[in-house]
Every structure is written in C-alpha cells, then in structure tokens.
C-alpha cells in the first residue's frame, strides 16, 4: 500500500446530504396552423441554443424505394437550396457560429442545429430553407453518392458495425429494420428522382416536430418560428405497411468471419419492447443492473473480476415499431466461450433469483440520478425532450420518471427479467476470425458463418 499520510484521516463514507429538488424547465408546446409541432424549453447555461427539426419518417418508410434512401436524402439536403449553393450554406453556417447536421435513422429524418442566441433567426431561416427548398443539385448528388459508396465499404470493415448489421438481419428478417445500411449495389442504384420523392413526402410540416432548447425567451422564439415556418405546407405521408419481423426461436450463433481479427466482437440480442410500453422503465432498471452501468453485474464479472474485456455493456434499443435487448463485449479470442457463459449466467440469474434490496436501491439511485444530469446541458435536455415528444409520452414524463423508478421492487425486476431477457431465444453474433473462435462459438447453438458482405459461407 502506497501511503502518504500518518495523520488522522476520515475513514467513513460521508452520508448523502438532503436532496435538492430537481426542477425541470417549463416547456412551451404549440402547433402551428400548418401542423408543425413545436416544443421549446429555456436553458440559460450559455448564450446559445440547440435545436432539432424532426421528420417522423426515416429509412424504414423509404425502403420500398431503396434501402438507406432517407439517409441519402438527408445528406444531399444540405448541399444546395433554391437560394444558396453548397459552399455558401457552409460559409453561412460558420458566419452564424453554427453547427448543422442532417441525417436519418430507421424511424426519423432530422436536421440538427446549434448556434449563437444573438443569431438565432438567420439560422432558423437556413434550417427552414433546407427543409422546404432543397434543390438536390445533380453534381452534388452524384458526388455524395460516390462518397457513400466508399463509406459503405468502410463500414463493413468495422467489427461493431458488422455485429450490429448481422443482429438486425437475424431479429427482423423481412421487416425494414433488418437493413441498417445499403449495399454497394443499392447505393449505385440511387437516383436523384428517388431522393426528390422522399423529400417531398417526408419533409412536410404535418410530419415535423421542431424542438429547441437554449438561451432565449420562449414567447419571442415562438413568434420567430411562426414567422419563419408559418408558410410551409404539406401533408402527413402515408405510412407503408411493413411485413412482420422474424421472431427467431432457439439460440443460434451467427459468425461473421473477418480474417486476421485479433479480438472477437460479441453481440447477442432478443426482441423486447418499444419506448411506449408500460414496462419500459422496469426494463431500463433491470438492464442497468445487468450490464447498463459501470457498477453492473456483467461489468463486475467479465471486466473487473476476469479481465476478458474492456467494454462490456447491455442496452435496450427502442425503434418505433419494435424494440430489442442486446449485450455486447469485445473479448480476447481465447475467451469467447468463457465470456458467453458469463453473459448467460448473469442473464439467467436475474431471471431466477430476486435482486437483493440493497443492490436494487443502488441501481434505483443510479438510474434516477443520471437521468437528472441531463438537465444541466442544452443538448442533454434536448435529447430528453425529444424522447418524450417523439414517443408521445405524457407531458409530466420527466417530472414523474424518478418517482416511478424509485417505486420498483425486487418482484418487478424478477418478472421483467423473465419476460424480456429471453435467454432461450437469444441470437448470438460473433465477429472475428473463424479459425480462432469457431469451435468456441459453436458450443452455444447451431452455427452459420458469413463473410463481411453477408455472403453465407457455411
């Protein structure tokens, strides 16, 4: 023991002092005549604001035209409008001290932005221009398409990406959620007209939600928004029907072969629930105990006790229509079987035995405490408000969240683990060099082997 003190020291852990009330900021909610939904919250930490214009349709709703087409549309949106060329857009953003990103996930497209409070109106005007008058210049589209081709090749050299892509395929089958990125051939087939169709359908005020958090006066900001976005028009797009997802039964192992890999990326998952489901908070807390926090059972076991991995974690992934639970770790090649054994041991233990009350109390405190840390930054608060608004959760969701977490009992967790930690039907993806890991992986179920491009090898 390296000690530098002989003097008297404080040996006992200081108790927590009385909690100060968490006060969530007042939200201003409005719906403009054109259907645009607006949520504003003031946060005066710095003289800036953060915002996001969501369109409630993403890659899943565009899949019939082409996988990843909503993402490609979002990318090209920032490259030109009726009034500004690409270079001017980028320079204007810098002139406004602003950052902007346009992107799309499975369920939503979005234009995210942040800028100086003193320059908020011109930034909103630019965001509005991108949402309403994007020009999709032919040359810009062609460049971004070629760029995307190289990106999708690169994606498939990353173990984390390959694991996630394979798990989604396995869990969702024919449902659009199965495809997290396009293939090279699909990108090569993108047409500018397809992007225009997606843009016209998705980027409408009836399909949009504008969220802003920052250093502004809400009433004045609402007036500015009305002025900038009030004349935008367009209807809600029809939602195309999706096939039912695969619901694979029985444990199965899916090995993605990466020759020369010096580590194995494990990702195992099963179907769970969406953000709107009444069990969501219970599952969140159960996950936190399992592998969702540093102080969780899985991290203690395979990192702090056994040293198999640096970065074990588990989480619940809520897509709009379906959610899934997953657990991951990048481990040494020679401990793939040992790591999977411990992952399942900890899952099954939560299904079998009630969590001791002191451990549950710690987890409740963790989940409710870190929730309120989100209050202290503009982008933290923005992401909390986005969760509430995009999932149509009740207005008092933020205010009541902590109480609801604190009311949970060992019995709640036991029943939640039994329902959603579907250990018997977990799909196990392992990305690595098959010559190093295949025999270990094969111990956990029927095994299929793929290459990085999804070709079935055996």
């Amino acid at each position: 023991m390296a000690t530098r003190a002989a003097a008297e020291v404080h040996t006992a852990v200081p108790p927590l002092s009385p909690e100060r009330q968490v006060t969530w900021p007042k939200r201003t909610r409005a719906r403009l005549a054109n259907g645009l939904e607006v949520v504003l919250a003031e946060s005066h930490t710095i003289p800036k604001f953060h915002g996001e214009l969501f369109l409630r349709s993403g890659n899943a709703a565009a899949v019939h035209r082409g996988p990843g087409l909503a993402e490609m549309t979002a990318t090209v949106v920032r490259t030109g409008t009726a009034k500004r060329l690409s270079r001017q857009i980028e320079e204007d953003l810098r002139r406004l001290g602003a950052d902007l990103s346009s992107h799309a996930g499975a369920d939503n497209s979005a234009i995210g932005f942040a800028g100086l409070s003193e320059l908020s109106e011109p930034l909103l005007q630019l965001v509005s221009e991108l949402a309403r008058d994007a020009a999709f210049p032919e040359a810009e589209f062609e460049r971004e398409r070629r760029q995307k081709l190289e990106e999708v090749k690169l994606d498939r050299t990353q173990p984390g990406f390959l694991a996630g892509e394979r798990l989604r395929r396995v869990l969702f089958g024919a449902h659009p959620y199965a495809q997290v990125a396009p293939t090279e051939e699909q990108v090569a087939a993108y047409k500018r007209d397809d992007l225009l169709s997606v843009y016209r359908e998705f980027y409408t005020p009836e399909n949009a939600l504008l969220l802003m958090v920052g250093d502004f006066d809400s009433a004045a900001m609402l007036n500015t928004i009305e002025k900038v976005f009030g004349s935008w028009s367009g209807n809600k797009p029809a939602i195309p029907p999706s096939p039912e997802p695969a619901k694979p039964r029985g444990r199965h192992v899916h090995l993605v072969h990466v020759p020369g890999a010096v580590q194995a990326q494990i990702l195992a998952g099963c179907h769970a629930i969406t953000r709107k489901h009444p069990d969501w908070i219970k599952l969140g807390l159960t996950n936190s105990l399992y592998g969702g926090a540093f102080n969780s059972r899985l991290v203690m076991n395979i990192r702090e006790d056994k040293g198999y991995t640096y970065s074990p974690r588990s989480g619940v992934n809520p897509l709009r229509q379906y959610g899934y639970f997953s657990v991951s770790a990048a481990v040494r090649n020679d401990v793939v079987a040992a790591s999977l054994t411990e992952m399942f041991y900890e899952l099954d233990k939560l299904r079998a035995l009630p969590v001791p009350e002191p451990e549950l109390a710690d987890a409740r405190n963790y989940v409710s405490g870190v929730f309120s840390l989100g209050l202290a930054t503009q982008d933290g608060l923005l992401s909390q408000l986005a969760t509430v608004a995009l999932n149509d959760l009740p207005d008092d969701y933020l205010e009541t969240y902590r109480e609801r977490v604190r009311a949970l009992t060992p019995g709640d967790l036991l029943s939640t683990a039994r329902k959603y930690f579907d250990s018997a039907n977990m799909q196990i993806v392992v990305v690595g060099d098959r010559t190093q890991i295949e025999p270990q992986a094969a111990l956990f179920g029927d095994l299929d082997v793929y290459d990085a491009h999804g070709k079935h090898l055996s």
Binding site: V13, S17, I46, P159, Y310, A330, A376
Partner: protein, 441 residues
C-alpha cells in the same frame, strides 16, 4: 470579449490547488482531480504506464476497496471516469449535488493512499490490452494518426513513443512501478481539485480543506525535458492498414508555443484549414477535387497540452488516386493560403465560429458530464499557467488576430522541412482497373 464565469481559487498548505466554479442553476455537481502527469513523461521502458496507472486508481484506496469507488458514485446517482492525456491525467465525477461530500472523500482517499495488489494489476493489464485491441489493433485505421505520427514526427522519446503501450512494456510493469509512480506524481502539490456546479464558494473551499488539507505534500516531481531538437527536413513513414479499404495519410506541422501571438493565429489558421465542410482542406479535397472521402484534423485539445504538439490533417482518399496526387492537392491548399492569405470575411466567420465553439466547450458534456469542458480548461490553466481565471479572458487573444497574422504563421510554420507525414496503406485495397494512375480533375 470578457466572460464573467465566477471562479474562486486558492492553494492549500500542502500545495494542492483548488478551484471552485459555483453555478446553482441545476442541483448537479461536477468534481475533477487533475494530476500533472500524462503519457508524455511516463518512464522509459514503461510505455503505456501512465494510462495503465489511471486504471489502477479505480482499483482501491485505503478506505474504499476495489469497486467501492465505482459503487459509491453510481449508487449516489452519478457517473465517473478518468482519462490520460499528454501532460495530465484526470479523474472526474458528475453527481446530484447531495453526493458532493462523498465524492470529495473518495478522491481524497485515493490521493492519500492507493491500495492495490498484484491481482488488481494483472486484471487491469488484461483489461487495458483489450482496450488497445478494440480501439487500435482490431479496428480499421485504429490509432491513426494519433499513435502513428508521433514516432515519425518527433525525436525525443517523450513525444515519440507508443502512448497506449507496447504489450511487452505493459507485461513488464510491476506493483513496485505502480507504487513509485504514485509516490512521485500523485502528490497534492502536483494536482488541482475542481468543484463545479451546485456549491457555494466558501462551502467548497472548506470541504476541500476538510478532506484534502491533511494529505502531506510530496517532493517536487522531476520532469524530463520534452523539447525537440530543431527539424531541418521533411520526415516520412509508413504503416500497414490491415482492415480498411482506403489509403490514408496524415500530415503534421508542429504548432508554436502556447499563449503566444503566433499560437492564437495558428489556431485560427487551423480553423480555416479544418473546421468541417467549410474548411479549406475538406472543400478542396472532398467537395471540389473529389479525391478524398474524409478530411479532418486540427490541433487536438488546444488548451490541454504543455509540450510539443502538431496540427494534423488526416486524409482518407479514393484508391484510384495516388498518394502523390493527393499530397500535391493538399499542398496546393497550403500554398494558396501562404500566398494569398485569407479574406476579412473569412476571418470574421472563423472568429464567430471559434467563439461559439468555445461556449459549447465550457458547457460541454462529455458522456453526459455537465461542465466537463469548463473543468478541463480550469485544470489546464491552473496546472500549466497557474491562472484559472484565463477561462474568462483567453478568447480575447484569438479575437484580436489579424489577416496578416494568419498568413504570417502559414508561411512560418507550414513548411515542408518542418512537417511529418505518415502513410497508412491498406494491404487488401480492392483497386479498380488503372488504379493509382488517375490525376486530379
């Protein structure tokens, strides 16, 4: 541009610097302890040790055995982490403010007496090796360019070695090394304690005294000289890319000494060259010439280093263009700014953006830790400059930069004989026909 962030600072009798930045707008506190030792000055033959040691600081102290630290913070509703940088190593927590005293107790306990054994060391050595694999050895472009460029660019071991650690050096590290590193560098007189958020200044200061005041000072640590000999010709090197599909290169120019006029100008020059899609390198190589797929870079953490560092441009380019063609086009961007400088309009844009980014840094969440950025700046300005109040005034130097200053540093520092280049070449690039022959349009 004078900010008015309230800051109190003092130095305790044992040499520990203390900085309090009260802000009661949310019932949340962030605490940091920064030690003035990073991987630059770790012992020779022990590459990677500063970072391995950082892991050991979570393995137990006199009154908080292994896992207690993490358990106590998590169960108080908080998050924690640590990170190793070139010249500092930090430990930090964000918690609901009713746990503030508990956090200070924990940080003081491990500053006073680390209590770890061989089993802990062996465990964390394994964990760190998996960290290196997941971030470097098993990733496309892992460690590029932050681990690839220094051995080519620098001659002084301090600046040039493998900061994550050669596995043989990690294996050779012993418990005696851990104890001696702790005794040498982890003394209160080589550290700063920061308390930000929901705390009153006088309360913060008295808690700092209560928990840290009786930790005895150590001897002033010996610091190796990190200076570099003069460079007189371009330096180049190559590294194999095992997984990625695109050829890559990184070009680094050594940056002027911090807090000089040249440094302010160089920082804005960096913004002109990098700074996203409006930056000159991205615009030329990606948007106009369409040679590159990715271009980014700059001076990493401009306030957070205290020795030789570089402004680095990282380029991933299409395989149909050769490295020479790509470099020639990069050089044309540099030559253009050297010959013609930048316009007043461009300089004005850069300043607005720099100021806006600075605010974001101050508020800065890192993994959900409010005010991480303010904490980091206060810590670096305390340890390197003994002047935490610089957070309120440092912007002025950047906002005073003139066009001729930017052109001046471009000519003075962006010289071929002062730069280093590393090429990262894919072993299995799928080259199309006529590969490498294409000239820039």
């Amino acid at each position: 541009m004078h900010l008015k962030i309230p800051i109190e600072n003092t130095t305790l009798a044992n040499g520990l610097k203390v900085v309090i930045a009260p802000d009661i707008s949310a019932p949340v506190a962030t605490v940091g302890v920064y030690y003035k030792i990073g991987f630059r000055l770790e012992p020779q033959g022990r590459s990677g040790f500063a970072h391995l040691f950082e892991h050991m600081m979570f393995q137990g102290s006199a009154n908080a055995p292994k896992m207690q630290h993490i358990k106590l913070i998590n169960s108080s509703g908080g998050t924690l982490n640590g990170s190793t940088h070139y010249d500092v190593t930090n430990y930090f927590e964000s918690v609901p403010s009713n746990a503030l005293e508990r956090v200070l107790w924990l940080e003081a306990d491990r500053m006073r007496a680390l209590k770890v054994d061989d089993e802990n060391l062996s465990n964390q050595r394994d964990v760190v090796k998996e960290e290196v694999r997941v971030n470097v050895l098993n990733q496309p472009y892992g460690g590029f360019p932050w681990l690839n460029l220094p051995p080519i660019a620098f001659r002084n071991w301090a600046n040039a070695h493998n900061f994550y650690g050669d596995f043989a050096d990690l294996d050779a590290a012993s418990l005696a090394d851990v104890q001696s590193f702790f005794k040498t560098y982890y003394a209160p007189n080589n550290a700063v304690l920061l308390i930000l958020g929901d705390v009153k200044s006088d309360e913060g200061l008295s808690l700092a005294k209560k928990y840290f005041g009786d930790i005895p000072a150590g001897a002033t640590p010996p610091f190796a000289d990190p200076r570099e000999p003069d460079q007189s010709e371009e330096r180049r090197g190559e590294v194999e890319e095992k997984f990625g599909t695109l050829p890559a290169m990184a070009i680094g120019y050594t940056v002027p000494q911090r807090r000089t006029t040249d440094w302010h100008a160089m920082t804005l020059l960096d913004q002109a060259l990098h700074g996203g899609r409006a930056g000159r390198t991205y615009r030329h190589l990606v948007l106009e010439k369409q040679i590159a797929v990715e271009v980014d870079g700059g001076i990493d953490d401009i306030f957070g280093y205290n020795g030789p560092t570089q402004m680095v441009t990282k380029i991933l380019h299409k395989p149909e263009f050769s490295s020479d063609t790509t470099l020639t086009e990069f050089d044309s961007v540099i030559r253009e700014i050297q010959q013609n400088g930048i316009t007043q309009d461009e300089l004005d844009q850069l300043k607005v953006k720099f100021r806006s980014d600075y605010y974001t840094t101050l508020e800065g969440g890192r993994g959900g830790m409010p005010r991480y950025g303010l904490m980091h700046l206060l810590a670096c300005f305390s340890l390197f400059d003994n002047e935490p109040q610089l957070v309120n005034t440092i912007l002025e130097g950047f906002l005073a930069v003139k066009r001729e200053d930017v052109q001046g540093v471009a000519k003075k520092y962006l010289r071929n004989d002062k730069r280093a280049i590393v090429f990262r070449r894919p072993v299995n690039a799928s080259l199309p026909a006529g590969a490498g022959a294409k000239e820039a349009a």
